[in-house]
């Protein structure tokens, strides 16, 4: 279908929308198109873009069988844009959406829109056994936010799902959109980060990486994470989205809650554990302005990060992005 024909249905009855953040007005496009604005620190964005494009092209050269996980969030849409820049508008690899079944419906609408708009080759993966409590999960029963803690759910519905789909497709590299400023363990990452057969990150013994020379091969069954946005900050992402006019979902922008205050999402995950933050930012300019003053962490609204001390380290060591 043509992207322009896709519109948002009525989600007003969906449980993902709470009092703080109401469902969108039906009928509009699932995508928000920012008005292009370029600014004086173009140098900095140029440099980030050049390095990311270099990394993506290196990944494509060294790993013919690679895939780009895509969460539909702002960072992953920047990755799509950078991929198109790297390959003259084409994307010569598949994209992967790990669907936890707890996606905001609006994001799924955006997903279908973007597939048509960017002409993506998209693979959608759900860990069906975990949700249904079948197969390997027969003894434990269904995994969901109603039955397990957020760290367990994140591991099973994201990491385990990724392992399943990796086993199926035998990808030797994944291009990911994690950033150093998101989390202190991500600040210690390499651009090309090898993962063993069990997806484990050997953070205590990472390979040297300098002068733009990377770990560009791995043994069968292992894979390399190519983290093409490592140098970017949250602010850089927004400045770049604005400069390039990259389409993104609407959920980053403020809506009025039933309490009369306004809320938006800074980071998007599973709806039961992702909280909206109070914010008046209904434009990219306002988001950038907000970031200059906020002292709240970007992932503060993501429950799985804060479940226990070093929750992210534990999740990430086991293969979470």
């Amino acid at each position: 279908m043509n992207a322009s024909e896709l519109t948002l249905p009525d989600y007003s009855q969906h449980p993902a929308y709470a009092a703080k953040y109401p469902a969108p007005v039906p009928g509009g496009s699932p995508a928000f198109f920012p008005e292009k604005v370029s600014r004086a620190d173009a140098d900095h964005l140029d440099a980030l873009e050049a390095q990311s494009v270099y990394l993506i092209r290196e990944a494509f050269h060294h790993f013919k069988n690679l895939c780009m996980p895509w969460s539909m969030g702002k960072d992953s849409n920047v990755l799509i844009w950078l991929s198109r820049k790297a390959f003259g508008g084409h994307i010569p690899y598949s994209l992967l959406h790990i669907d936890t079944t707890y996606e905001f419906p609006e994001m799924l609408a955006y997903r279908d829109w973007a597939v048509a708009y960017h002409k993506l080759n998209l693979i959608v993966k759900i860990n069906e056994d975990a949700r249904a409590g079948t197969g390997a999960y027969a003894e434990r029963g269904p995994i969901g936010y109603d039955t397990a803690d957020p760290v367990t759910v994140t591991h099973e519905l994201k990491t385990a799902a990724l392992q399943q789909v990796m086993a199926e497709h035998q990808w030797s590299a994944l291009i990911t959109g994690i950033r150093r400023d998101e989390d202190p363990t991500r600040a210690k990452e390499r651009y090309f980060s090898p993962r063993n057969k069990d997806f484990e990150w050997d953070y205590k013994d990472q390979p040297p990486e300098f002068w733009n020379q990377f770990t560009t091969s791995c043994a069968a069954g292992e894979h390399v994470r190519v983290q093409a946005l490592l140098d970017w900050s949250e602010r850089d992402i927004w400045l770049y989205i604005q400069r390039e006019g990259i389409p993104i979902p609407h959920m980053y922008f403020a809506r009025e809650g039933s309490d009369g205050k306004r809320y938006r999402f800074r980071s998007l995950g599973c709806w039961p554990i992702t909280g909206a933050v109070e914010s008046d930012a209904d434009s990219i300019d306002k988001i950038i302005e907000e970031l200059a003053h906020t002292k709240t962490g970007e992932r503060a609204g993501r429950a799985q990060d804060h479940h226990e001390r070093n929750a992210m380290q534990k999740l990430r060591a086991k293969g979470f992005m």
């Binding site: 600014r39 140029d46 440099a47 390959f87 205590k204 390979p207 040297p208 791995c218 002292k295 709240t296």
Partner: protein, 653 residues
């Protein structure tokens, strides 16, 4: 969209050239020094005192400190791994952004434990400047010196030394001065001048972001009137733009889409314009830039250092990943043998004579260390004693490397991006090196440079598969009577018997025919060797192992021979047949020395004309002491594995 009345960066009418680092405009500062001298603590303190921390982070670190039974550990703001917090050390390097009123920074925390030196290098290699910490109570330690040395090796010239933990020595000026003079002396030996020495207490926030964290507190070091750490950061110079250097565009890949052939890569230095004539090393093919592609962006005709570009060419020549585009003037060096200063971080030692993968920009070649001049202990600057066939983890060494095929490079001091390489062992980057002492040849002297080679359907690898070996040139050089021809003929016989395609070029078959119009003047000698070089290269291209036996007394001529052969992608080895003049003269098989002494022959090498001995040959044969059999064996041992053609994944290597 609302209007932009808020204090965002100003809208900018035109694009500006990028400065060519992953974070242009962000000065990258690495914090290094011995383990437990307070690097992470200082960074944590800087972030805290400049109010650069998000709320969550401070709480996280407070919780972690409590869990480890500590009051408050500033280091935990960076040392996020559980193991790091439990052991209170930094395991891996962290990058964090922060800004002063003057400009934004990327702060790089590097571990100080010797075991994590690879992580320190990973962090430091991308820095523009460094803060090196020395704890006043412990003074200059092993890693204080090693890190200082590695900074200089990595080309980081801006260094500020922070003498930390002044609180533990009673803020004593005398202790500070003594650490300063000891370390300054060390830095002088390695040619580094520290911008400043700053006495600090990271834990108490003294001379970090201010004299004291609280203005009401008394200053415990009134004797120090210099800048604080954050003031020193603001004094560092931004990295020099690379636009003024010669153009280097290492080709990353060649794509074909939308029915067009697109070359991609990053402009590492210089400026690229549509219409520029490019020469691609090592093949020396040239073509003109037809377009610079810019998907989704405005049409562009120029690309600057640091940009990742996609270009199309006017003439469709053969180009592949690893080729380096430059302008015809100021082209890079091409060689298969070069000197480098190398540091090794591999789990296994680097073995001399073993083949490794070498990566320089986008080039990947098999390479080996052929000789080690010296191994340096980076913490004492002493030469490690004893001759050993390997380089150990954390060693720094002066070496000669040889690659299989031509490597395109620059000396590190003239172009950092093309003057450094890494060595891969067991799939990981295990060592790095910087190139020095390479000689830039005038490409215009290589007259065939602009001739298009017709690429027939019979490829060198087809010939190599049929012959069982690659083409190669063994270039014998030495005085008349040193034994060049004798050895070449003997080796020819051995190789022939072993089923190799082999041929000797010497005075007998060249001087009487092809070069019969040449005499022995310097100009004629040069032309003689030029022709021999071209013939040898063609014969190697046809699949033969060529042995040339000519005095070839001039270094420059032999260097050109090497380049000509390497351009064809064939193995080249210089064989120095060394015998003292007295020995050669005593042999005097053809009675030439006698005639030269009598003045009957003018310009006779060794008597009345100079011989420039090779400085760095692949093989040296001392025929005064070695038997013919020993010399032959040495050459065969060298060349046999190098020309072997093996079928592996259908690619001949």
């Amino acid at each position: 969209m609302s209007s932009t009345s808020i204090p965002l960066p100003e809208a900018h009418p035109t694009g500006t050239p990028s400065a060519g680092t992953p974070s242009a405009g962000r000065l990258r500062v690495v914090f290094v020094g011995h383990v437990d001298h307070g690097k992470s603590t200082l960074i944590g303190r800087i972030l805290h005192d400049t109010h650069s921390l998000p709320d969550g982070k401070l709480e996280q670190a407070q919780k972690a400190s409590a869990a480890e039974g500590m009051v408050f550990e500033y280091a935990f703001l960076l040392d996020a791994l559980l193991e790091e917090q439990e052991q209170n050390i930094t395991i891996d390097t962290t990058q964090i952004q922060f800004k002063t009123a003057k400009r934004p920074y990327v702060i790089i925390d590097a571990p100080g434990h010797k075991e994590f030196l690879k992580n320190m290098i990973t962090g430091a290699a991308s820095a523009d400047a460094a803060v090196l910490l020395i704890a006043a109570n412990e003074g200059v330690q092993e890693q204080s010196r090693r890190h200082g040395y590695l900074l200089s090796l990595l080309g980081i010239r801006q260094v500020v030394v922070a003498v930390n933990k002044m609180d533990l020595v009673g803020y004593s000026e005398e202790t500070f001065r003594s650490v300063q003079s000891e370390y300054r002396e060390f830095l002088e030996q390695i040619g580094v001048v520290a911008h400043a020495f700053v006495p600090i207490s990271a834990r108490n926030g003294i001379n970090v972001a201010g004299r004291t964290p609280d203005l009401a507190e008394p200053n415990p070091m009134p004797w120090y009137e210099g800048a604080t750490i954050t003031e020193r950061l603001d004094i560092f110079e931004p990295p020099q733009p690379l636009g003024a250097l010669p153009l280097r565009l290492p080709i990353q890949d060649v794509y074909r889409f939308d029915h067009r052939r697109i070359l991609v890569g990053r402009v590492e230095s210089g400026t690229l314009r549509v219409g520029d004539r490019l020469v691609f090393s090592p093949n020396n093919k040239t073509s003109e830039v037809a377009s610079i592609e810019n998907w989704s962006g405005p049409e562009t005709t120029v690309a600057y250092a640091g940009q990742s570009v996609a270009i199309t060419l006017k003439e469709q020549i053969f180009v592949q990943r690893g080729h380096v585009a430059s302008h015809e003037e100021r082209a890079p060096i091409e060689s298969n043998r070069f000197r480098a200063r190398l540091f090794w971080m591999g789990k296994r030692p680097l073995r001399i004579g073993q083949s490794y993968k070498l990566k320089l920009a986008t080039q990947e070649l098999d390479a080996e260390v052929v000789s080690v001049d010296r191994v340096i202990d980076a913490s004492t600057l002493e030469t490690v004693q004893g001759d050993r066939p390997f380089i150990q983890r954390n060693d720094v060494a002066e070496v000669v490397l040889q690659t299989r095929g031509a490597l395109v490079m620059d000396n590190q001091d003239s172009n950092p991006f093309m003057g450094r390489f890494v060595i891969v062992d067991d799939r990981q980057v295990a060592g790095g090196g910087i190139i020095h002492g390479g000689v830039y040849a005038d490409r215009s002297k290589i007259k065939s440079a602009n001739i298009y080679w017709s690429e027939g359907n019979v490829l060198p690898r087809n010939r190599a598969l049929r012959n069982g070996h690659h083409g190669a040139v063994l270039w014998f050089t030495g005085l008349s009577g040193s034994g060049k021809s004798t050895l070449a003929r003997q080796i020819e016989r051995e190789l022939f018997n072993a089923g190799r395609q082999v041929y000797v070029l010497d005075g007998d078959n060249i001087r009487h025919g092809l070069n019969s119009n040449l005499g022995f003047s310097p100009q004629d000698r040069e032309e003689n060797i030029r022709r021999v070089s071209e013939v040898a290269a063609l014969m190697a291209d046809s699949g033969l192992i060529v042995l040339t036996a000519f005095i070839s007394p001039y270094t420059q001529d032999r260097r050109r021979a090497r380049e000509i052969v390497l351009q064809g992608g064939h193995e080249f080895a210089e064989v120095y047949v060394e015998a003292p003049l007295a020995v050669c003269e005593a042999r005097d098989v053809k009675g030439l020395y006698k005639k030269a002494r009598a003045g009957e022959i003018s310009e006779f090498t060794g008597i009345s004309a100079p011989y420039e001995a090779p400085l760095n040959p692949e093989i040296t044969l001392h025929t005064g002491t070695l038997s013919i059999e020993e010399s032959v064996a040495a050459v065969l041992e060298y060349i046999t594995p190098r020309v072997r053609a093996v079928v592996e994944d259908e690619v001949v290597i």
